[in-house]
């Protein structure tokens, strides 16, 4: 009887899951099997991460099917039949078996460790002379991307002497919290060139995350971070703060627009003339605070 319940449990589970899935898929569905794997990497480093992800996934899936298969086999094969009251053999252990199933996992995890460490060296590799440097300022609850010319640090863009030399992209909170007419701030980067981001936070910890780059890095106050990436696919990619940063954390989105070198330079020129926003200084963190309705584009 217990067995029947178990069987029914499993059948009902599968049916319910498939049913729910089918209903969803037929009804509206923004789900696709595409979601079942990470995004196609849009950067060189992201591709490296994706490769190690795939390796871990294959090994993980193999372990999953092996062990779940063993469990399923055992509970079906060794279920107690009605009326069977005999004691099964009392097996306390088996040294050879136990050594094997300790040694093999050790070998697997050591291999994974070495592989992931090698990948890490690719992902974290840095060139001393990146062609593009962008200052990224995170604050509650938006982003600011600062493009300084050669020889000017992005932090100095606010100085009067540098007036008109820098391009700054400001983010704003959506008016009334309504996302429908809202565009998150866009970071423009040229394709196939190494871009260095200098990450800076003015208040709490944020995190710079672009799923298509398969990468994120926390932005801790007083601990500026420098990261580099090389985008290799033209397109617009979403990004978002992943480190919970307070009330309007959900609105800390941005976009990365990867474009050809020509388009990128043209965009930069267009932003430089006529002189852009009134001031390139970072807006005070309390600028867009209050209700999202209070904020408006500068």
């Amino acid at each position: 009887m217990g067995l029947t319940a178990k069987r029914w449990a499993r059948r009902a589970g599968v049916v319910a899951a498939l049913g729910a899935l089918a209903v969803l898929l037929s009804a509206c569905s923004d789900f696709s099997l595409r979601n079942a794997v990470p995004p196609d990497a849009a950067s060189v480093q992201g591709q490296a991460s994706r490769n190690i992800y795939d390796i871990v996934f294959v090994i993980g899936a193999a372990v999953f099917f092996l062990v779940e298969g063993l469990i399923l086999f055992a509970v079906v094969r060794y279920r107690r039949r009605a009326g069977d009251d005999e004691l099964p053999p009392q097996i306390h252990g088996n040294n050879r078996l136990e050594i094997i199933w300790t040694a093999i996992p050790i070998a697997i995890v050591l291999a994974l460790f070495v592989l992931s460490w090698q990948t890490l060296n690719t992902v974290d590799a840095r060139t001393p002379t990146p062609p593009v440097r962008i200052g990224v300022v995170a604050y509650q609850w938006q982003w600011e991307f600062v493009y300084a010319p050669e020889g000017v640090a992005w932090q100095d863009c606010g100085a009067p002497v540098n007036k008109g030399k820098c391009v700054t992209v400001f983010g704003t909170l959506p008016a009334g919290g309504d996302r429908s007419n809202w565009t998150p701030p866009t970071m423009h980067v040229p394709v196939n060139e190494t871009v260095e981001l200098q990450l800076h936070s003015t208040d709490v910890i944020h995190s710079f995350y672009v799923p298509a780059f398969l990468f994120q890095r926390d932005i801790t106050p007083r601990k500026d971070q420098v990261i580099q990436f090389t985008a290799d696919r033209i397109g617009i990619y979403r990004g978002q703060c992943t480190q919970f940063c307070g009330l309007y954390h959900q609105f800390m989105e941005f976009q990365v627009k990867v474009e050809s070198k020509v388009d990128y330079v043209a965009w930069l020129q267009q932003e430089l003339t006529p002189p852009p926003a009134p001031s390139a200084a970072p807006p005070s963190p309390s600028g867009p605070a209050g209700s999202p309705a209070a904020s408006s584009a500068p």
Binding site: L3, W101, T102, L112, F113, I205, K223, T242, Q250, E253
Partner: protein
């Protein structure tokens, strides 16, 4: 000792005064259980609030401020007032019984450990009527947790409450360790202790070494917030936000093992009983438990891979390595099933459910040990999926297995098996519906702890699915609560040993008398009651291979 004086009370005095003042480890264990159950419902309601809001894009039911309190208090309640005390409650009830002791070593301190729990829970939840509970996430990272960014009393109440919970845990851990080291019955050597006692012992060591560090962190945070300190306050000279992450995770990673090891212990009692076999590789299992405990203190920084402030290869290696003892345990359990005669009671269903779900929690944990993969999915819903496969698929399934298994011992009556099976099926389906889609949400880039998401991000359906799953879990709790109700009012009498158990708690009455035992069977192995039952069988049957 005056054993005769202890004899008469086969039944409990059940007056309210008796329950409020009891120092009997069994009653305290039952108090732990019910306190945790009530708070499980509270934490569950917070979770439903979160899932309801996330069912569709757009804010429908609450503001961001409310949402942030909901997910913060969901995690805080579930970790500090449900899973940890639930398992400590099992420890309280079972450890003295399993080692043949009359009570815990320090019964009055034991009562104090318990009463700190409802007190602290009330303090933490007081934030809601007093202008907002803590809303920084249960990790409470500075500077967000500093007074400048988190005004209101909620965060301070949370700090005070957690300090009290920590005190409760530390006192409990001391009590367990002294009880286990000093109060074992004659013949109960360390390597004859039930595995559950071993896991409680290792857990107690983790609590003893880890929890005080959390206490120190909380005190520093309190000083920052209220006395102008600058430990973690980056607005002041010398303040270091990463310091909080280090001291916090130094406790909070071992806390995951505090929450899973006793559940592993429960499963290691249930599976052998219902397979009618000894646990395969008892000693290996014990060493694996100790190994997890030891490695558990060297992996905390894997929560900080993305900070750019930790030495990655060391913590990555240690995190990978901790999969090995966990894997050993998994194979031990599966090998225990092999060639057994498996009875599918509700307790066994939950135990097998633990195996199949905790396995997923282990495998997706290995993803996170690989630093480049962690760069990708850290702080996304993948993490939420991972921790729920560990804490729900692992700890909570283990707790339910334990409840169905030891309820007859605690109350003398068996929980209804039919209702129990409905409960299991609902939990198993609901759990997977809720948490499996979160893997997919995570790898497609949905950050955790967001109150709302863009309708065009491709996350709508998976979120809806997870919400349906959440309500399935909630619905599955109803037969369980009904089951408790009908069983307390008159369930099937259990008898002393309803499952043919192996360990000493089955050698006394159900419920056991005060001070537990009139007579103990001889203890010659880790299964004294089994040995007793089969003393006259042919030796070939009980001998090992």
């Amino acid at each position: 000792m005056a054993t005769t004086a202890l004899r008469p009370a086969a039944t409990y005095r059940t007056g309210l005064y008796e329950w409020l003042t009891t120092t009997d480890h069994k009653k305290i264990g039952i108090l732990y259980t019910f306190n945790s159950l009530i708070l499980f419902l509270v934490g569950g309601i917070f979770a439903l609030a979160v899932r309801t809001e996330l069912a569709q894009p757009g804010l429908q039911f609450m503001t961001e401020a409310t949402y942030n309190q909901m997910f913060t208090m969901h995690a805080s309640v579930m970790i500090f007032w449900v899973v940890i005390p639930f398992l400590a409650g099992f420890g309280n009830y079972l450890v003295p019984l399993m080692i043949g002791a009359p009570d815990m070593a320090f019964p009055r301190i034991n009562a104090l450990s318990f009463w700190l729990l409802p007190l602290s829970a009330v303090i933490a939840l007081m934030g809601f009527p007093l202008g907002g509970a803590a809303a920084e996430g249960w990790t409470s990272y500075s500077p967000l947790a500093q007074a400048k960014f988190s005004t209101g009393p909620g965060t301070d109440l949370w700090i005070v409450a957690l300090t009290l919970v920590g005190t409760s845990s530390i006192l409990g851990a001391i009590n367990f360790l002294v009880t286990i080291f000093k109060m074992r019955a004659p013949g109960m050597t360390l390597f004859r202790m039930p595995v559950f006692v071993w896991t409680t012992m290792v857990t107690s060591v983790l609590v003893l070494m880890g929890t005080p560090v959390l206490t120190s962190a909380l005190i520093m945070l309190y000083i920052d917030r209220n006395l102008g300190g600058s430990f973690f306050n980056t607005a002041l000279a010398g303040g270091n936000a990463i310091l909080w992450e280090n001291v916090f995770w130094f406790y909070s990673h071992p806390a995951v093992y505090i929450m899973i090891l006793p559940a592993m212990g429960i499963v290691s009692e249930v599976i052998p009983t219902f397979s009618r076999k000894p646990l395969f590789g008892y000693k290996a299992f014990v060493f694996a438990t100790a190994g997890i405990g030891a490695l558990g203190f060297s992996v905390w920084a894997h929560h900080m891979f993305t900070t750019g402030s930790v030495y990655l290869p060391f913590f990555s290696l240690m995190t990978f390595l901790i999969a090995v003892p966990t894997g050993v345990k998994m194979f031990n359990w599966v090998a225990t099933l092999f060639r057994g005669k498996i009875r599918f009671t509700t307790a066994m269903l939950f135990a097998v459910g633990f195996l199949s779900l905790f396995l997923i929690g282990g495998i997706n944990g290995a993803f996170l040990a690989a630093v480049p993969v962690d760069y990708q999915v850290h702080a996304t819903y993948f993490i939420v999926a991972h921790i729920h496969y560990v804490l729900f698929g692992g700890s909570i399934m283990g707790i339910f297995a334990g409840l169905y298994y030891w309820w007859p011992k605690m109350f003398g009556r068996k929980l209804n098996e039919g209702l129990g099976k409905i409960h299991f099926v609902g939990i198993f389906i609901g759990m997977n519906l809720t948490f499996f889609p979160m893997h997919l949400l995570g790898i497609s880039g949905m950050p955790r702890r967001i109150a709302d998401y863009s309708a065009t991000a491709g996350w709508n359906d998976l979120n809806l699915l997870a919400t349906i799953g959440g309500f399935t879990i909630a619905a599955a709790m109803l037969p369980f609560l009904w089951n408790i109700f009908v069983t307390l009012r008159g369930g099937e009498p259990a008898g002393d040993d309803p499952w043919e158990g192996n360990t000493l708690e089955w050698a006394t009455s159900s419920p056991p008398p005060p001070y537990n035992f009139d007579h103990l069977p001889p203890i010659r192995s880790e299964r004294p009651v089994f040995d007793q039952r089969h003393a006259n069988d042919a030796p070939a049957l009980t001998a090992g291979h």
